[in-house]
Amino acid sequence: MRYTDARLLDALASAYALGTLEGGARRRFERLMRDRADVRDVVAQWEQRLGQLALSVPQRKPSADLWRAIAARTQPAQAQQARQARPSRWTSWLRPAGFGFGGLVAGVIAASALFLAVPGAFITSDQLAMRTGERLPQSYVGVLTDTDGRGRLLVSSLRHGRTVTLKVLGATALPVSGDERLVLWALPADAAPFAIGTVPASGAGTLTLPDTSEKLLSKVSRLVVTRERSASPAAPSADVVLSGACAKLW
């Protein structure tokens, strides 16, 4: 099945989130979720809706053994990963590309170690692709820096995907006041800048593209984030908060 019909996808996502999608159909849908960020988005929205229903369920106290069992299964692995992790400059996020070609054996361990070495650099779709597919995904990646040269925003998008994943880096929120919003712009080499979407001041987020990133971003060499007051600005304002290069990660 091609799963291109938005209404079908929505119906499947809601049945998946509710739990009524069963058996082979559920497994097929889980595979689809692994491959497609847009499908994960629709599911996340249904989980957000249905999660409201759980708020009326009375709390219950499990035995104290439960935490001990969970801690035993999570702490030792964490200690192992910490030993493998190396603190490094943010530019080293390019380095794992070599891992990808060589084959990420023991995918989870290696990916987790990378993840620790470069906090926040590999998230959601990319991270999932690495963990499950044991490879680096074909994607566009941009690291945007502030005026002091600090890496503050990671932008990534699978080449054939229509979703852009955003991750704000660093301990502080991006500077924006209540009546402004942060807009991410793509600056193609031979055309006018176009807006990709709104960037959260902190945390992570996703944006949906009107076409695949391969089509939209292949000629984009730079990305900027500006502060905008207009709801739909036609061109970036001069108030540039972040900027950086956009690169194709094979």
């Binding site: 929205q45 409201q52 229903l53 009326s56 009375p58 801690a71 991270q127 959260p200 996703t206």
Partner: protein
């Protein structure tokens, strides 16, 4: 740990994604009573619910980096992400239990010749699914909006959500045709989305 107490659940998940086990411990501290309640409600017994919760929290630790706080500019609350993980693990456990039961008794029938369902074991913990559903609607202030739906729509959705029943099981429990139940649930979900959206609670 004292520092973590001041952190939002979202920041704690980000901390766990970086491998900070103290953040993960704080996530457990804040959420386990609620999540255990959800698991017990679905599975009908505490031991099975503890097994499910253990799997769920290990998965949360491993996949903390997969949480996104917003989708298309819409907030995804961290607690709903956690609830979804627990429900999926509970659904796996319910299906595994059903496979075992089917294996042992190909077609379980009660003394009246009516098919017994998994719901019989999961249904006894009070309060009932319909009651939980109504309480949630009231708390969300969408009870007025949802009351436009016939009670059987709400009941079928409540059974599927709180007890993890399949379409077939909901149909057996409500003594209604399978196709009808599927349509009820579909309509119930659509209405829930519309009401939550009108209330500004969820996309």
């Amino acid at each position: 740990m004292n520092r973590n107490i001041l952190m939002s659940l979202q920041d704690l998940i980000a901390g766990a994604a970086r491998g900070d086990h103290a953040c993960f411990a704080q996530i457990y501290e804040r959420t386990h009573l609620h999540l255990f309640g959800v698991a017990v409600r679905m599975l009908g017994n505490e031991q099975a619910a503890e097994d499910v919760l253990q799997e769920a929290y290990v998965s949360i630790w491993k996949n903390a980096g997969g949480y996104r706080s917003s989708v298309d500019g819409q907030e995804i609350q961290p607690i709903t992400w956690l609830i979804a993980i627990v429900r999926n693990k509970a659904l796996d456990a319910l299906r595994a239990r059903k496979r075992r039961n089917t294996h042992e008794q190909p077609l379980a029938t009660g003394p009246d010749g009516e098919a017994e369902t998994e719901a019989d074991t999961a249904a006894d913990p009070a309060p009932g699914a319909a009651q939980l559903f109504d309480q949630a609607m009231h708390a969300l202030r969408i009870d007025g909006c949802m009351s436009a739906l016939d009670g059987s729509f709400r009941q079928s959705l409540a059974l599927a959500y709180y007890q993890g029943l399949s379409h077939t099981e909901v149909a057996a429990q409500m003594n209604a045709p399978l196709g009808t139940v599927k349509a009820w649930i579909r309509r119930g979900l659509d209405k829930l989305r519309a009401c939550l959206s009108a209330q500004g609670v969820a996309p």
